[in-house]
Symmetry: C2
Subunit: 652 residues, 2 copies
């Protein structure tokens, strides 16, 4: 049962698509804290909290404070309160009772889940305005399902979006892209897509192609398509200020850009240098910007990633002027140390400065809002611009789309990736732990940069991460300029990388089926053990194993130099220890605790009793998978136990 | 057997105290890489590498690259190659064979242990000059012992240095310190010392006391001493430039400060603003600076921590001038984004800039050396200054001393703490994993800031960390200005904190005995399971359990919300699950894998077969521990199996 309550006068977000009548009584569970914009709930000792999607720390969110405030912060250490997204849905569950809650507000809200006081869950609002949905139901999965039902069906990518993708900031020209594809082909490692980061553009201008680097882009897209390779370009939120650049000029003419209080367009700086931000919250601007994707669709492009849409701001013109003025005060002085740190802080604080979010406005649903009041809706509405446009521009064919920033509601228009993570073992674990929480909030098409974006990867980290990545719908290897090259063929054991990526393609019939069933039933693809075995106390303790769809559980290895790991089985299962499609051990493992060996090139898949797991012969591209080749690994059943989802993988 | 080899013309470090004749032949195991300052060794698949003391990542160092380059970097994420110390001893071990190696050079050397190529261990030298000691022996512990023998006996603190200490940057005046002590007394939590961070000084001037904040310091030291509380002030490496400040003036007069190429004293800025650095490598300067500790000894102080001695440099005067000149080029321009990042980098790069280490020189053993060539000896020699002075100033009584920066050799003069860590669960694990490696390099008196220095702690993290901290010789709770207050009495379950710190005092007779035995036998206090059970393959996999002395193994919980953990027992052991001195379960546990419950307030101690574990009644101060009150938990033996070390705890 979903009940809706209202605090104050909230700004609509369009995240909930089902009309629900407002309740009159007090919000259940939580109590208002006197003299504060705060609601408070006393947690039981064994209450766990799940959800909040893209946040740091474990599956159980208890013990920290998380703030919904979409942030371009590439250092995802465990003390960070905000990452790129604002996904305000959680379920509090105490084994046999609990509730779900969706806090619908585009402003800042903090979830203090036993941080200040171990037993108190506080919701702290910057502005005391929100729609609050309270959901009760028959267990964790049921509560999630009810929530998902009110926010609408999750985005469905084309099936090729389940193929392996290679990315790097930056592939500088078509020659480099060709070389990457050739190298994968040479090694026999399957691949479906190459991502184009910012350098494909002319001076980082959205919807342009650098003629110098990609002299005949249309032909190049076709050349790649003929090889079965999809090129997936990045689109950034800022539009470069440049006379003669049609999109800039149209934006000016149409009044589509975000304005300051004085009605001048805000001048911010991002990759292209100075930019204006389209006002994605303004329906007209959204329609205008969405239509621009047609420029790339017409080149034959059929997938995109939206980036820098928190929005990231390296500096604003006004703030930079202020900083240079302030710096004059420091020059030539005998700086004491606090003054010196202030000076460093002034310069270091230019990027993503919260005060810059108070310098500009949106026209939203007929009203004017200062950006910080609707901040968390920006990336969402950028991706909505694309998604709404694709419905018009590509009514029959699905387009690949995922975004860095998001808010609930955006899950109907695209997926997400988890932003600029690092080549850290702890971020492989974070990737594992974020997946079910993303699913809870409707983001089914999701994944993190496999191998890590920042910092230098090692071969073993990349291999272990790839072994997990083969289970995430978005399966992309991506790395930052200046870091160690991270394409799989650059390491010594390419044979194992090939075998592991081959497994991905062998598993796509299963993964795609389970994904589509999750979309169609408002279910989750990834569930923590406690969601499947709510009566098993130990299942609540497990934070590093996931169920993927109905048939299997995975237990990825995420520690360097480990040749195995502890696994808890809530019931007897059949372990397949895969080295490749046709080289794997099978073993029945009892319920309970086990130390399971897993050599560096081995992938552990546990099949549930009474379930079947279809496995296709390896294929070099998703669309080359031979569904007739399927074999089934079954535990106490036969292949008929499995309900394969089949469609053409592309029609809407 | 220890053999000594020489590459090039190394600068002496005084780390090895035993005369060993130089071998003539080639260095064993490693081969010179052509045209590079590099030695290379091909590792076997199961070779592990232990040592390197204060570095990131696990107990087995394989799979990353570590650079010995003492660095003031407070963000100890797993991609960092350098922390505060340079401790170049490691053992490579492949279950039944291997070798130890000590790479003695004060310059930069990188240990690429399967980072570039998973099977290659490369030693990469900035300058190809080093003494290399190759050690072979009968297993891991024997190799360590042989190494320790040649570097001399480890520093021994006064026994009260095993008591609990409370610290925070910053306690601003005597009233605050008094309040902290009173609060601990009020809660009945034992405590032996309060650390004074930089604010006790007058304008951050070494060996001064702020008259405003501590109007009668001598009396205050006595007041605390009467309560059994030791005050432990910080000493920073830089001496403030201030006319009339005697230490500054003496340093100028004596020519004790580090000079630039033009023979002017280097002007750097640290907490006091502009400072000169004493040339600790210069014997005369070292003697002069060491003598200054007498000023505080005369106040009744009997312990110190040396800080900022990498040395940390916030900026140098010369570099700051250059930066302000460079900034003029950016002002008023339409900065493209790369220029903007350059500008930010110029300002952000002022602190701890490697080029600043090329701006000044040392007089060392009769020669002049540019700082960067002897960089890793700076903190070592600051602490040596103190240690050598204490031998003169306090010939009978031990003085507490530990340092942030270090090099092997410094272990004879003081301990170390692991620098500015964070309130991260991953840093609790890092603390566990660094302890045995520190021991290998001779640093027996060591520990990390319990609860974490930077970032905001939570009560559960602090409790779990305290449960581990009670086993580390240095047991200090320390936190940074601006972070959440971290004194144990500020949280809700002070009863459990009291019980846990009480356990520390109950365990001191054991810990001090085992520490002294380790010092006297050149042994380790903390050993990883593989060191104790070299024939057990599984023991090599375990990275989160430690043996502490001869009788016990510990298995700390380091995951948020966990109510237990996996433990591997290489043999049958007796588990004591302590909630307090007199409230604990006892259970015999079989060899093998177990999931062991450990509630938030429970400490797991595993007693080895045939070993006894002495436990004292709780005491409020170390020196109040009643050795007559000892009871023994024994497994298959009686209390006579234990060899208690008893001395007066203070005589040298």
């Amino acid at each position: 049962m979903v009940r809706k309550y209202r605090i104050g006068n909230p700004i609509e977000t369009d995240s909930v698509v089902t009309a629900i009548e407002l309740e009159n009584g007090p919000i259940p569970y939580f109590e208002k804290v006197e003299d504060k914009n705060e609601l408070s709930f006393h947690m039981g000792k064994t209450d766990r909290v799940y959800g909040l999607a893209e946040t740091v720390r474990g599956i159980n969110k208890r013990g920290y404070i998380y703030t919904s405030n979409c942030s371009d912060d590439p250092i995802h250490t465990e003390d960070k309160r905000s990452l790129y997204a604002a996904q305000n849905f959680f379920v509090l569950w105490g084994k046999d009772k609990g509730f779900g809650m969706y806090v619908d507000t585009p402003g800042q809200v903090s979830f203090d889940i036993g941080y200040t006081d171990m037993d108190i869950f506080s919701l702290c609002f910057e502005d005391f305005d929100a729609d609050i949905y309270v959901i009760e139901g028959d267990g964790l999965k049921d509560i999630v399902k009810q929530f998902r039902k009110i926010i609408g069906k999750s985005y469905i990518p084309p099936r090729w979006g389940f193929g392996f993708g290679q990315s790097r900031w930056s592939y500088m020209n078509e020659g480099e892209v060709r070389e990457v594809v050739d190298s994968y082909e040479k090694q026999g490692i399957p691949i479906d897509s190459i991502y184009l980061d910012i350098d494909y553009m002319e001076r980082y201008k959205d919807f342009t192609i650098s003629k110098e680097r990609f002299p005949d882009f249309k032909n190049f897209v076709k050349e790649m398509a003929d090889k079965g390779i999809h090129l997936v370009p990045i689109i950034d939120a800022g539009v470069k200020i440049e006379e003669g650049y049609d999109i800039y000029e149209e934006g000016i003419k149409g009044g589509y850009f975000c304005k300051k209080e004085d009605n001048e367009n805000l001048v911010a700086a991002v990759w292209p240098g100075k930019v204006h931000f389209p006002d994605f919250l303004n329906e007209e601007a959204r329609r205008w910007f969405g239509e621009k994707y047609k420029i790339l669709l017409d080149y034959g492009i059929d997938g995109f990633w939206n980036d820098m849409n928190e929005p990231a701001i390296f500096y604003t013109e006004d703030h930079l002027k202020e900083v240079f003025l302030q710096l004059k005060d420091y020059e030539g002085k005998n700086l004491d140390i606090r003054s010196f740190f202030n000076m460093q802080g002034i310069v270091g604080g230019l990027a993503n400065n919260p005060d810059d979010y108070k310098r500009f406005y949106h026209e939203y649903k007929g009203k004017r809002y200062r950006h910080d009041k609707v901040h968390n809706l920006f990336g969402y509405n950028m991706t909505r611009a694309a998604g709404e446009a694709f419905e018009r521009l590509s009514p029959d064919k699905r387009i690949l789309m995922f975004s860095r920033s998001s808010y609930i509601g955006m899950h109907r228009y695209g997926g997400v990736w988890c932003g600029d993570n690092k080549s850290w073992w702890s971020h492989l674990l974070l990737n594992i732990q974020q997946m079910p929480a993303l699913n809870m909030c409707g983001f089914l098409y999701s994944g993190a940069d496999v191998g890590g974006f920042g910092a230098d990867v090692t071969e073993d980290l990349l291999m272990r991460w790839t072994e997990f990545g083969i289970f995430t719908p978005l399966f992309r290897n991506h790395s930052a300029e200046g870091t160690r090259r991270q394409e799989l063929y650059r390491f010594s054991d390419t044979e194992s990388f090939k075998n592991i990526v081959n497994l991905r393609y062998s598993f796509i019939p299963y993964l795609y089926s389970e994904f589509m069933k999750a979309v169609n039933s408002d279910g989750m693809l990834f569930t923590p053990p406690a969601f499947e075995y709510p009566d098993d106390d130990m299942a609540y303790e497990v934070e590093d194993q996931l169920f993927v769809g109905d048939s299997i559980m995975i237990a990825p290895v995420y520690r360097q130099n480990a040749t195995g790991r502890y696994v808890y089985l809530p019931e007897e299962m059949k372990l397949c220890r895969f080295r490749s499609y046709d080289d794997y051990d099978v073993e029945i493992i009892d319920r309970g605790h086990h130390y399971i060996s897993a050599a560096l090139n081995e992938v552990l898949v546990f099949i549930r009793k009474g379930h079947a797991f279809p496995i296709a012969a390896p294929a070099t591209r998703t669309e080359k998978i031979d569904y007739a080749s399927l074999k089934y690994e079954c535990f106490d059943c036969n292949s008929e136990a499995y309900d394969l989802f089949i469609d053409d993988g592309i029609s809407r």
